[in-house]
């Protein structure tokens, strides 16, 4: 009897402690700040701000703030970051645009006990040397090229497009490490197919890009895959191939165009049958997931042991309607304005 009553008392205490504990957990209030490189003059900002709104609606005890500038420079970004740190938030999400410029302020934040999550752009150094953030949430440039290449090969094997005989990776910035990684991924995917591969600098200026591509295609007639590492250059690539009579639409002959990003121009290209595929780097998740990890870090003590990749997700004719609806919801009227086909 004594034993039973002791057990009952212990159970009551334990359950009241648990209830109390839950109440405490509910009462914890947090303020997380995203210090972004994307201002309101870029429609992509809405991927992030809408995801933060969604996070707030699911976690009412968390306030999220989005800080950015429409006059972007690393100098301005660091200033925003330092002023965000000074407000002593419970967590910061930030793209590591410049490791050298961001390391000082972010180390200072971590020393002050503010957890940091990198999003969209990681510190590309090895884990032991990099800024001590909790984790990185974002895409992977190399995988973007590799997965798109593998997708194209699968389509070729299915007989939907020609097998590759020559692949050109058309890049507008010869020194951009991220773009080079995309090309490298595509090159690695094509290894073993016997197709020639070349990385071509076409510039970001439309007339130069078109004439460069035209010269290249004339000199390298075996080229039948064009991979543009920026979506806005895909209409240029298609236009040049079309003018040269190379049948660039998505079918079992001629040239095939592949691009990147779930942008209106890339999606419109797929919709009209001019582009085989593009990718999404899961931008919405890059706003939501950092907040979630900051929350779990505080509430549960969780620390992810690796980077969290939100992409690439392949977008092609099979899922274009879904993606078009999603991206239209984000871009609104700007969607049609950005369709340059």
């Amino acid at each position: 009897m004594m034993k039973t009553s002791k057990f009952a008392v212990a159970a009551v205490i334990a359950s009241s402690l648990m209830i109390g504990g839950a109440a405490v957990a509910q009462d914890n209030e947090y303020r997380f700040v995203m210090v972004s490189h994307i201002g309101s003059n870029d429609p992509n900002m809405k991927w992030l701000t809408l995801s933060l709104d969604e996070f707030e609606s699911r976690y009412p005890n968390v306030t999220t703030e989005y800080i950015s500038t429409n006059n972007y420079s690393v100098q301005e970004h660091v200033r925003l970051l330092e002023q965000a740190i000074s407000t002593k938030p419970d967590g910061i999400a930030v793209p590591i645009v410049s490791t050298d410029a961001f390391e000082g302020p972010l180390r200072s934040a971590v020393e002050q006990g503010i957890p940091v999550v990198a999003f969209n752009i990681p510190d590309s150094r090895p884990v032991g040397e990099r800024i001590p953030y909790l984790t990185y949430v974002g895409g992977d440039e190399y995988l973007t090229g590799k997965k798109l290449g593998e997708f194209a090969l699968a389509e070729a094997e299915a007989g939907n497009i020609p097998a590759p005989t020559g692949v050109v990776c058309a890049s507008h910035d010869a020194a951009h490490q991220g773009l080079k990684a995309r090309c490298q991924g595509m090159m690695d995917a094509m290894e073993g197919t016997g197709a020639a591969f070349e990385e071509l600098f076409i510039s970001a200026e439309p007339a130069t890009a078109r004439s460069t591509l035209q010269s290249y295609l004339q000199a390298n007639p075996e080229t039948n895959y064009i991979f543009t590492v920026a979506s806005w250059s895909s209409p240029w690539a298609w236009g040049v191939a079309n003018d040269m009579g190379l049948s660039p639409d998505v079918d079992n002959e001629g040239v095939t165009v592949i691009t990147v990003d779930a942008s209106p121009v890339a999606l419109a290209g797929i919709k009209r049958g001019s582009v085989l595929a593009t990718n999404s780097q899961g931008f919405w998740l890059q706003g939501y997931a950092p907040m979630e990890w900051l929350y779990w870090y505080h509430e549960l003590g969780y620390e992810p042991q690796s980077d969290i990749l939100t992409g690439p997700i392949i977008v092609d004719a099979s899922n274009i309607d879904h993606w078009e609806a999603l991206v239209r919801n984000i871009f609104g009227d700007a969607y049609d304005e950005q369709d340059t086909w």
Partner: protein, 323 residues
């Protein structure tokens, strides 16, 4: 009665207006930000921004004093930052800083000589310089940043050139204080100071009294370029990174700081401490909007409104004092 006692003070010291505005803003920001604005870390950040913008504003104030304007200082700032970081990994950072500041002075000399010798309006010449040197900065960096890794920015030279803090305040503030003292002494106790303001007051009158107008104007532009270059070095020292956009639009902030601080755009009247207080007010307003998490689409608009209100406040105070 107390207002009557203040009147002569405001009449004599053009910077009184901006000092009062600063005090008012500090009180308002402190009261409304729940500790987000008024904390040691943030004040340190504001003072760092004030140091680099303040140095630029001091130089612009001197040029304004001669009745001219220099809108190329943002580009000069950027070029100096790039030169400094590029050289600092090759030679001693102190020598790199000297070269970068000299480059700033050379840009100032280029502006000054062109304006003085050709009679072309300073707005046009320095607008051209703004574009030339911004273009050069972009071309030199090819769209990328020149930077020095965080762990390699050790040693006294980096420390003193804006790369570290003393009691939470960036060492750039030491350079601002030094520049303020030196320029104040030059303006008050050297004939050069009188000549500078005389040229701004009336070129003809100054000329008739034997002042070498062109030489005075060129000297103001050289010092302006030098200080913008020093600001660029200190900012680069802090960030450890500089790209083609470094210092962009800072020229407008520097001019706004001077006007807020009581400098007469027509020339002949400047206040160095006023220009620095103007820089402090601008940095404080920016910081307040950031820490209060104002959305980016409203940021520039609100900043502009607050600056206009502050300028009107300063102007009303001065009008009242002169009545």
């Amino acid at each position: 009665m107390p207002s009557l006692a203040i009147k002569p003070l405001v009449r004599r010291h053009t910077e009184i207006g901006i000092v009062l505005i600063s005090i008012l803003l500090v009180l308002v920001f402190t009261a409304t930000s729940e500790g987000r604005w008024a904390n040691a870390y943030n004040i340190g950040t504001i003072l760092q921004v004030t140091a680099t913008l303040g140095l630029m504003s001091l130089g612009v104030a001197l040029v304004i004093g001669t009745g001219e304007i220099d809108i190329s200082v943002g580009s000069t700032f950027g070029i100096a930052a790039i030169i400094y970081l590029w050289l600092a990994v090759r030679v001693d950072p102190a020598l790199a800083a000297l070269v970068a500041v000299a480059a700033g002075a050379a840009i100032g000399a280029f502006n000054g000589v062109l304006i003085a010798r050709t009679g072309t309006p300073s707005l046009i010449v320095t607008l051209g310089s703004l574009m030339i040197f911004r273009g050069l900065a972009i071309a030199l960096t090819s769209g990328f940043a020149i930077s020095i890794p965080y762990k390699e920015r050790g040693g006294f030279s980096y420390f003193i050139l804006g790369g570290d803090k003393i009691y939470n305040v960036n060492t750039g503030l030491i350079w601002l204080a030094a520049a303020l003292i030196v320029l104040t002494l030059m303006l008050r106790y050297m004939a050069w100071g009188n000549r500078l303001l005389a040229v701004g007051g009336s070129v003809e009158s100054a000329h008739s009294r034997g002042v070498r107008v062109n030489r005075t104007k060129i000297s103001a532009f050289i010092i302006c370029g030098l200080l913008a270059g020093l600001g660029g070095v200190l900012e680069a020292g802090k960030l450890g990174s500089a790209d083609g956009s470094m210092g962009r639009l800072m020229e407008l902030q520097a001019i706004a700081a001077c006007v807020l601080g009581g400098c007469l755009l027509a020339g002949g009247r400047i206040s160095l401490i006023g220009a620095i207080m103007g820089a402090f007010v601008l940095s404080s307003i920016q910081s307040y909007l950031i820490v209060m998490s104002v959305q980016p689409q409203w940021f520039v608009l609100l900043l502009g409104v607050i600056v206009v209100v502050a300028a009107l406040g300063v102007r009303s105070l001065r009008r009242w004092a002169l009545r």
